[in-house]
């Protein structure tokens, strides 16, 4: 009996070993701590990184004398998401490092090269990135600081990810000292789209609204409020944007006009612990399913919260901090009947002759809300575009749902971050999610919405011209 027990143990161990080699090892070994990867570079020419249509985003060129240079044809446009590989590694350059330094060329050719003592060409990775959308977003952000994220809601494919200010990955070594100097205030190496944490401002009202619907399942539609431009509770007063009085409003109007007074009053009535739980289930204070470096969003509101805290939190001004990527993920779940697809950047791996080595499929993260909740939120977010703060998106020729935000991040009320998060709702196409953040600029409807508009129309144009 004991013999069998031991043989069983051994068999399990061998089974685990096989599982490790077959399934786990690619993820495990693709780690910056694995020095073995660098050794590959002595035998392999680093492969190309391509956009989804095959456009080269990064490639290694070998000069006559054998020196290799990594070239990035789009310069600064893809700087954060593609990353660099000559001064440490970031972005896709680190995510795909193992594939780029593995050669799956035909065996005969590899052996020929071995004999000639020449390097083999590494595999190329085809990403989900869309050159047109990335360029549009990059241009639209102009000289502002900020970020834009574009995802495909139904699959999780990352179509664009822009962060400004940016840098030239070809000049990373030359500019390293100034990019990392202590006097630097730009933080250009920082990928604001995934690593930047900002007060969500009114975009958080999506979550406040979701929680309100959950706590009042049968009566939420009957909500009415009279807004005179502010709401005072105790000695704390919250103002609407520009102290505008919105008058009589129902829930649709309060959301569409982004009425702070109405949502602060909703916030006062919410159960803090269940709001916290809702935020946790929306991945606040949690790891995000994302492969590049990112920052965890934070939300904290406990039972000791005073009314002022609850009011501020409900309109996205409390202690809450969120990244543009995270807001885009929440919106993508709403667009996708409540189910979140894991965002991903690597579409497939090919050898240098374009024959397939490995392809990646969309993966579901799980539901963030029910399909009915997602449907309801979509209707409210559509009203924002049709008759509210996002009305600049109403004439695109296809329906868009969204939410703007104007986040005050300091006591200086004139400075604020402009937010927009939303998605196309065409029902025929793979819908896209767009999240835009512009630092220290002003209101979301004035600054973030126009950027989103350019991205949406570029997407729409390429669809119509393509088909």
């Amino acid at each position: 009996m004991i013999t069998y027990l031991f043989i069983g143990l051994f068999t399990c161990m061998i089974g685990y070993f096989i599982y490790f080699e077959a399934v786990l090892s690619p993820d495990v070994i693709n780690n910056p701590y694995n020095a073995r990867q660098d050794a590959f570079a002595e035998k392999i020419i680093r492969g190309k990184i391509l956009a989804s249509d095959g456009t080269v985003l990064a490639e290694t060129k070998t000069a006559e004398d054998g020196t290799e240079t990594r070239s990035y044809p789009f310069g600064n446009v893809f700087s954060h998401v593609v990353g660099y590989s000559t001064r440490g590694r970031t972005g896709l350059e680190t995510l795909a490092n193992f594939y780029l330094l593995t050669s799956d060329m035909p065996v005969v050719e590899r052996i020929q090269n071995e004999i000639k003592e020449e390097k083999n060409q590494g595999d190329q990775v085809i990403t989900t990135l869309d050159v047109n959308l990335q360029k549009t977003a990059w241009d639209a952000l102009g000289s502002n600081r900020g970020a834009a994220v574009v995802l495909e809601a139904g699959t999780g494919r990352v179509l664009a990810m822009v962060s400004k200010p940016d840098f030239d990955p070809e000049q990373i070594n030359a500019n390293w000292d100034s990019l990392t100097s202590e006097d630097d205030t730009e933080s250009a190496l920082y990928n604001r789209a995934a690593q930047g944490l900002y007060a969500p401002g009114s975009t958080f009202k999506i979550i406040t609204l979701l929680e309100y619907m959950r706590e009042n399942p049968s009566t939420y539609a009957d909500f009415t409020f009279h807004c005179n431009g502010k709401l005072t509770e105790g000695n704390y007063t919250i103002n609407c944007y520009n102290k505008k009085a919105h008058g009589d409003e129902d829930l649709t109007k309060a959301f569409a006009k982004s009425c702070n007074a109405a949502f602060a009053s909703i916030g006062l009535g919410l159960n803090t612990s269940s709001l916290s739980a809702a935020c946790d289930s929306l991945m606040f204070n949690r790891e995000l399913p994302f492969e590049l470096t990112y920052s965890k969003s934070s939300f904290s509101l406990d039972d000791s919260a005073v009314p002022a805290d609850k009011m501020m939190t409900a309109v996205g001004q409390g202690q809450t901090l969120v990244s543009p990527l995270h807001m885009a993920l929440i919106a993508s779940a709403i667009a996708n009947e409540g189910k979140l697809m894991k965002p991903y950047l690597l579409e497939r791996v090919e050898n240098a002759e374009s024959s397939l080595v490995k392809s990646f499929e969309p993966e579901e993260y799980g539901p963030l809300m029910t399909a009915a909740e997602a449907q309801n939120l979509t209707e409210y977010m559509k009203a924002v575009v049709e008759s509210g703060t996002g009305s600049k998106l109403s004439d695109l020729g296809f329906p868009v749902a969204g939410k703007t935000g104007t986040a005050e991040y300091s006591s200086d009320k004139k400075k604020s971050h402009a937010w927009f998060v939303g998605f196309s709702d065409t029902e025929e196409q793979e819908d896209i999610v767009v999240c835009v953040l512009i630092e220290e600029k002003g209101s979301g409807s004035e600054y973030a919405v126009p950027v989103a508009r350019k991205i949406f129309s570029a997407w729409h144009n390429s669809l119509t011209s393509g088909s």
């Binding site: 004991i2 061998i14 070993f17 490790f20 080699e21 090892s25 495990v28 073995r36 052996i111």
Partner: protein, 462 residues
């Protein structure tokens, strides 16, 4: 050209070890003695071929001036192991060829890996192996003739315990555990030898009596062994001793309740250990989430995983990986180094060969009639099997790493000597088993003769 040799050699290594492994299991099924002997000879040949190939691959990657030295060293390795096979067979024609071949094969793989990792350590290992192999030739005869061995139960227990206590007082601390006594340039790890004396102790005591008082005395003594090891922070050792004792105890008393009770006590102790000792928690953390502590506690295991994963199925090729990145790779993580450079398929074959050793040990325990030796074989088999499980499982993060060596393969004079002794003891018991078989054959023949004679007499009378 060099890299071509390395690339091609990967496939040939795998072919050789696969054939060797296949023979380990297929030969046992054969009936024809000629075929069986042929199988054993092919295994010896494969061992030599692997050594020759490794030599060629390493030579291709060595500078001119080092080549002669390396070639000579490999020649010595091949001669030593083949001499061990030859002399064992001459002195003891009846030994288990499979166990003998495995011992040499595992040592050959160990030598190759050590030569690649550190030439000086490999030479040292070689010298110790030569002496240990020579001395071990005496062991089977001791086992065969030594009826006195089973009368010295308390001697084993007390001598073993004294050695362990000596380490815990005078031992040198390496990576948190007190394992070795250092005398000048010579370092000695008593716990490797105490393993054997401990099994002898448990077997001898449990043969004598399974009466409750006696059992209690034996168990207390065994418990003290384990406790001393825990205090010296040799957790892998403690676990090995505990498991071996539990199994012998169960087989001797045949009471499942004791076994379950022991198992329960073991789990309780592990739980208490987790809460009492920070180094246990560190090991467990390094196991559950090594990447979160990759800079410190998880460094070793993650480097091991990088090695195993980067080597993948076919390996990087001999001398092409970076096993040196793994701390104490020559001892606790030799399996990762082998897996990195020879690949996962080779490594799985190696596990199967170790498993084949274990099965042979247990088979001998099953078949031998002398109860003292039965328990001893069983205890040694469990020690061996469990140790392989701990070191391989630890290296691939199947279980938390416990810091034990892979017998006969890992670097370390004490571990190697003790393992060679263990294999020699097993060979002795195998011979004894054969003797028993011949004896009972004779007895049966004698009995049937008597019966026939009786019949004849009866026939005559009538």
């Amino acid at each position: 050209m060099t890299s071509l040799i390395v690339e091609l050699s990967k496939f040939v290594f795998i072919l050789f070890i696969a054939m060797y492994t296949f023979l380990s299991f297929s030969v046992l099924r054969k009936k024809n003695q000629e075929e069986i002997n042929h199988g054993w000879r092919v295994q010896n040949l494969l061992t030599v071929l692997i050594q020759v190939l490794a030599c060629v691959v390493l030579l291709a990657q060595t500078e001119q001036e080092g080549q002669e030295k390396l070639l000579l060293f490999f020649l010595f390795q091949i001669v030593l192991l083949q001499a061990a096979v030859f002399f064992t067979r001459v002195l003891y024609p009846g030994v288990s060829r499979l166990v003998l071949n495995h011992m040499c094969f595992l040592m050959a793989v160990g030598f190759i890996m050590l030569t690649r990792l550190s030439y000086d350590k490999a030479v040292r290992q070689f010298q110790i192996a030569a002496v240990a192999l020579a001395l071990s030739m005496l062991i089977p005869v001791l086992i065969r003739k030594g009826a006195f061995l089973q009368k010295m139960s308390w001697f084993y227990g007390i001598a073993g315990l004294l050695l362990l206590v000596a380490v815990s007082f005078f031992g040198k601390t390496t990576s948190g555990a007190k394992l070795a006594i250092v005398l000048g340039s010579f370092s000695f790890q008593p716990s490797e030898f105490v393993k054997i004396s401990f099994v002898l102790f448990a077997a001898a005591r449990l043969v004598r009596s399974t009466e409750f008082r006696e059992l209690l005395a034996t168990t207390v003594m065994a418990g003290i062994h384990v406790l001393v090891l825990v205090v010296s922070r040799d957790l892998g050792g403690a676990l090995l001793f505990f498991t071996a004792y539990l199994v012998i105890f169960y087989v001797a008393t045949k009471k499942p309740l004791y076994f379950l009770g022991g198992l329960g006590a073991g789990c309780g102790a592990a739980f208490a250990g987790y809460h009492l000792f920070s180094h246990v928690r560190v090991r467990v953390l390094a196991w559950t989430d090594p990447f979160s502590v990759i800079d410190k506690e998880g460094y070793q295991i993650t480097q091991s995983l990088f090695a195993v994963g980067t080597g993948h199925w076919l390996g990087m090729g001999l001398n092409q990986g970076m096993p040196g990145k793994i701390p104490v790779v020559e001892q606790d993580f030799i399996f990762s180094a082998i897996s990195e450079e020879f690949g996962g398929i080779f490594a799985i074959c190696l596990i199967l060969i170790c498993m084949s050793c274990f099965i042979m040990f247990i088979n001998i325990a099953m078949q031998i009639k002398n109860v003292f030796y039965k328990y001893t074989a069983l205890g040694l088999g469990i020690l061996y099997g469990f140790q392989v499980f701990l070191t391989v499982g630890g290296a691939i993060r199947f279980i938390p790493s416990t810091g034990v060596t892979l017998p006969l393969v890992s670097y370390g004079g004490s571990s190697l000597t003790a393992s060679i002794m263990m294999f020699a003891i097993i060979q002795g018991m195998y011979l004894l088993k054969e003797d028993e078989a011949i004896q009972s054959e004779k007895e049966r023949a004698a009995k049937s003769k008597i019966r026939k004679n009786r019949k004849k007499q009866i026939g005559k009378k009538s």
